[in-house]
């Protein structure tokens, strides 16, 4: 499964062809929330822009989200109709193993998911009519690499507290449709 075709240069590749419509829909964001988890299930970042309803406290919410994704990945790997040999249902999957989903839609929101080969999971929740957000997630991952991973003061596996990252993230998300 192939990932980032050719984004080897740093600065210039940070700007993909941004989707048309530069957030002219007012000051509101079209994205609701963003979660970033690492391989062990630690929530590295939770960013909220528009969330009228909160059913659980933050810890439970993160665990529920991670659990849902973990099960959904097992589910899609097993129900995949194009491969004959599939593992058993309960076996934890490596990143990239088996068919993985990239998005699901409900009537009120759309969840876009991306898992990198290192096990970092990015989840972007937007309103229900947005298009395919895989490029947006790749861009956010690039931001993560540039501003978090390359930050010498950041300890991997701990929650992200890099101002530059959150600033650029907010700026980018405002341009999403």
């Amino acid at each position: 499964m192939q990932f980032f075709s050719g984004s080897t240069s740093t600065e210039s590749s940070l700007l993909p062809a941004a989707p048309p419509g530069t957030g002219a829909g007012g000051p509101g964001n079209n994205a609701h929330m963003l979660y970033i988890f690492n391989r062990a299930g630690v929530c590295l970042l939770y960013r909220e822009w528009n969330r009228p309803l909160r059913t659980l406290d933050p810890q439970q919410d993160h665990k529920l989200m991670f659990g849902l994704l973990f099960s959904l990945r097992s589910f899609t790997a097993k129900i995949d109709p194009t491969t004959a040999e599939k593992g058993n249902l309960g076996v934890p999957l490596l990143p990239g193993q088996g068919c993985s989903f990239y998005s699901f839609k409900t009537n009120t929101y759309q969840l876009n998911f991306m898992e990198t080969p290192s096990g970092i999971k990015l989840i972007l929740i937007t309103h229900s009519r947005t298009g395919d957000q895989r490029e947006a997630l790749k861009y956010i991952y690039n931001l993560y690499v540039e501003y978090v991973v390359k930050n010498p003061l950041y300890v991997p596996g701990t929650p992200i507290q890099c101002d530059l990252f959150t600033k650029n993230l907010d700026q980018y998300v405002r341009t999403l449709i």
Binding site: P52, T55, L68, K78, P81, T83, E85, F101, K105, L111
Partner: protein
């Protein structure tokens, strides 16, 4: 109607009551299909909890690399979901048609017990007519 890989029908408690495979590689045995159906039922419920706004009815569409999953939940909690090719058109329509067949040939059958596995010949017959038409197109590639 479009071609699908498989169809699952789940009752309101999450138990699988109907499973039909129309050509996926690697058949699933009964136990696996039961487990997957219950897993889907739970995830459908969890997704409602994670909604940022009120009024969420669960997952309608799941898109993966090699397939799409369309789900329809009736007002009584019975879920119908189909596994199909990515971006297959008219799946929502197909699910509504299957729901109509279900109400006609299963629910109106006086010998059918609610929430039990579906064993109605007429349902199978009509279902295969609705889906079969495009199966040739799927196999031909």
């Amino acid at each position: 109607m479009a071609a699908i890989y498989s169809l699952f029908i789940i009752n309101k408690s999450g138990g699988l009551i109907y499973y039909k495979d129309y050509g996926s590689a690697g058949r699933m045995d009964t136990n696996d299909s039961l487990r997957l159906a219950s897993l889907w039922h739970s995830m459908h419920a969890i997704s409602q909890q994670l909604s940022p706004t009120t009024g969420c009815n669960g997952i309608d569409l799941l898109r993966a690399d090699t397939f799409d999953l369309h789900c329809f939940q009736s007002l009584t909690g019975t879920k119908f979901f189909v596994i199909c090719e990515p971006s297959a058109p008219y799946m929502e329509l197909l699910l509504k048609v299957i729901y109509e067949l279900y109400t006609d040939y299963v629910l109106k059958n006086p010998f059918y017990e609610m929430e039990m596995p579906i064993r109605c010949e007429l349902f199978d017959l009509n279902l295969s007519q609705v889906v079969q038409k495009d199966r040739v197109a799927l196999l031909a590639r």
